[in-house]
Symmetry: C2
Subunit: 189 residues, 2 copies
């Protein structure tokens, strides 16, 4: 019965993976229970408000990861071009070259969009804003930087969709490389 002193933080990655693979509605409590190794009793002990609270916690942890690993470097790095380069590398690893879905993007397309609309909007708005700031600091006008930032964030999301649909990680890598090559200081603008 009660054995391990499970920590909420330990099961968040497992929860995230279930939601990524099955979506919000598709991730049934029995699937979640199976993936985390926790019974319903434990799950409702940690998340009294049920599935919605689980998803909220997962979104918060994803948000935190991107904030520290991607957004802050873009916003504050002394070398914005290098921060952008690092973002491409981090994104490729994080999304496993498109074999791992972006949960926030998926959620935005799905049925349950309205329930988490604010978190979804914030995630993308802050990503675009951080990238805009970095691009602007590589000698671009605010408008050009914003357009390019939208282009890149959309390109990453689309690369996930396309690479997954085709079952070809190399497509993801190629799309990202092409966008990276279009950056100032690289081949051509």
């Amino acid at each position: 019965m009660a054995r391990t002193v499970t920590e909420k933080a330990d099961i968040l990655p497992l929860l995230a993976e279930v939601f990524r693979e099955h979506g919000y509605e598709g991730a049934s409590l029995s699937l979640i229970s199976q993936a985390t190794g926790l019974g319903k009793g434990s799950l409702y002990h940690f998340f009294p408000k049920g599935k919605e609270e689980m998803m909220t916690a997962v979104l918060a942890s994803i948000d935190h990861w991107f904030e520290t690993e991607i957004f802050q470097p873009l916003l504050t790095s002394a070398a914005p071009a290098a921060a952008i380069e690092a973002m491409f590398v981090a994104v490729r690893v994080y999304f496993a070259s498109g074999q791992r879905v972006c949960l926030v993007g998926l959620l935005g397309l799905s049925d349950s969009r309205d329930r988490f609309a604010e978190a979804i909007r914030d995630y993308f708005a802050r990503w675009v804003q951080a990238l805009t700031t970095a691009l602007q600091r590589t000698h671009q006008t605010e408008q050009a930087a914003r357009e390019q930032a939208e282009q890149i964030v959309a390109g990453i999301q689309g690369a996930i969709v396309l690479a997954r649909a085709l079952g070809r990680p190399d497509v993801f890598d190629r799309v990202l490389d092409e966008m990276k090559g279009r950056q100032p200081g690289k081949s051509g603008g």
Copy 2:
């Protein structure tokens, strides 16, 4: 009361819309029944194999639309640059500037991916191939054309994700315009 001689073709657009809004798993039979105005009995009369057959039929109709409206013009038009331009226009209308989800892309990200994997892969493979052919005919090498085709198809899918997440159709339009402007014969490459 059997009254209206309902045609399968008449309800396909309604079916497609339900699947677009709720996904495959999220589109329950009662939702489908409500959206189409047909009871379960009628639905199983037209689609004996149930939901899966409904989705298959919807995917086939989507496929047919893209084949005639997008792929064939790209492959056979005497003016490939104009066909590409027409594709951007058609896509903007079809996806309502990102307010209307791409069902095939959504399906590729979702749980039910495996069930329709072949149709999903074909849709995107043929889109990329058609666009590659058109780009190649605008004086590009095969490799450059294919890379750019992947870039554009991914960009369109990503623009849907981003514009929907932000709730801003203008983002969709801007991302597409930027890609259109990068075409040969336009501003700059």
